[in-house]
């Protein structure tokens, strides 16, 4: 079977349709966002540890950073579902 190229190997070119300049008084470059917006429009490239589920890890990050809403891209299942649940129970009880 012939190989299908992976989407991330695709190179795109930018073509100009018309000329225009942007007003520096409004908005800002994504990499220069000031503090609250930095978090509000931010993503984290997390290296998930083994054990807990993706949902648990996302919830921990939410608690660490103290944000209201969080979402993760693509579930990585917990390594051993039965064991992980035991761990969770023991971790929750004092």
């Amino acid at each position: 079977m012939s190989r299908i190229p992976a989407p991330w190997t695709m190179k795109r070119e930018v073509l100009v349709k018309s000329k225009s300049e942007t007003d520096p008084n409004f908005g800002c470059k994504p990499e220069d966002r000031p503090y609250p917006d930095l978090i509000k429009f931010g993503v984290i490239n997390l290296d998930k540890p083994p054990g807990p589920s993706s949902h648990e890890v996302a919830a921990w990050v939410r608690r660490i950073i103290g944000v209201n809403q969080i979402g993760h891209g693509g579930t990585l299942e917990a390594s051993k579902p039965e064991k992980s649940q035991c761990d969770r129970r023991s971790a929750d009880s004092p």
Partner: protein, 257 residues
């Protein structure tokens, strides 16, 4: 299972479905249930490249009907006895556990997935931006101590990073607020655009500063959009930028702006 797990904060969660549909890459250890010649294993794994039929495994979060998934590549990295280490690039929704199982069926000896690590999720890879939970705790407390934004910037990336895998359309300042209010993008608003846009494909609309304005669905190809002087070029699907970030430059139909 470990590896790349992108986490979107607050407003950036609107971009998460882009990642859910994005291609993934994994490194996997498959354990065979009996000794098989190395060449035979490699041969069978090669057969799993391209379009494959896959029924999601018993423990799955989707309906268990046969689906077609694209496997971009499978590269065997190492074979140690019955353990096979390979790298696989595939479409979203491909179950690697199931691929290992199916490879075992083809070989006739059976096999299972011993270990899995995701090395890519869309534009996110194991690079210098990747952080562990410990890094986050450390960097966040460091930021709280010092108030130096460089600690936050070290692990919180702009959501535009997520949109890297989509073809982009850059628009003029005067069109931004209209899009923020839900308008569709029309040809005069377009300043530049990337190649590879086709009718019906998902695109990201960005300002000239590179900020994400909205996610949209193109209604024409790159070539067509370049030659259009009026009409809708992309239908707004998800607004990402808050209203009022850029000044309102459009007038309502009643005449008063």
């Amino acid at each position: 299972m470990t590896g790349v797990l992108p986490i979107a904060l607050e407003e950036a969660t609107k971009t998460i479905h882009v990642l859910l549909e994005a291609g993934k890459e994994y490194v996997c250890v498959m354990r065979l249930h009996s000794n098989v010649p190395e060449d035979r294993v490699k041969e069978v794994l090669t057969e799993f490249q391209g379009k494959i039929y896959q029924r999601p495994p018993a423990r799955a979060s989707v309906k268990r009907r046969v689906r077609i998934r694209r496997v971009y590549y499978i590269d065997v990295l190492e074979v140690d006895g019955r353990d096979v280490l390979f790298r696989i690039g595939c479409q979203a929704g491909t179950y690697i556990r199931k691929i290992c199982h199916d490879v075992g069926e083809v070989l006739g000896c059976g096999a299972h997935m011993q270990e899995l690590r995701r090395t890519r999720s869309g534009p996110f890879t194991e690079d210098e931006n990747s952080v562990t939970l410990h890094d986050i705790v450390y960097l966040y407390s460091k930021w709280q101590e010092t108030g130096d934004l460089k600690y936050l910037r070290r692990f919180v990336l702009p959501m535009e990073k997520t949109l890297e895998i989509l073809p982009k359309i850059y628009i003029r300042d005067s069109a931004v607020d209209a899009i923020c209010h839900g308008a569709h993008l029309t040809a005069p608003g377009v300043v530049s655009l990337e190649t590879g846009i086709t009718n019906g494909c998902k695109v990201a609309i960005l300002t000239l500063k590179g900020e994400a304005v909205a996610l949209a669905r193109a209604t024409a190809s790159t070539k067509e959009i370049l030659n259009m002087s009026y009409g809708i070029v992309a239908r707004n699907e998800r607004v990402l930028m808050p209203r009022g970030t850029y000044p309102k430059m459009w007038r309502s139909k009643t005449g008063r702006s």
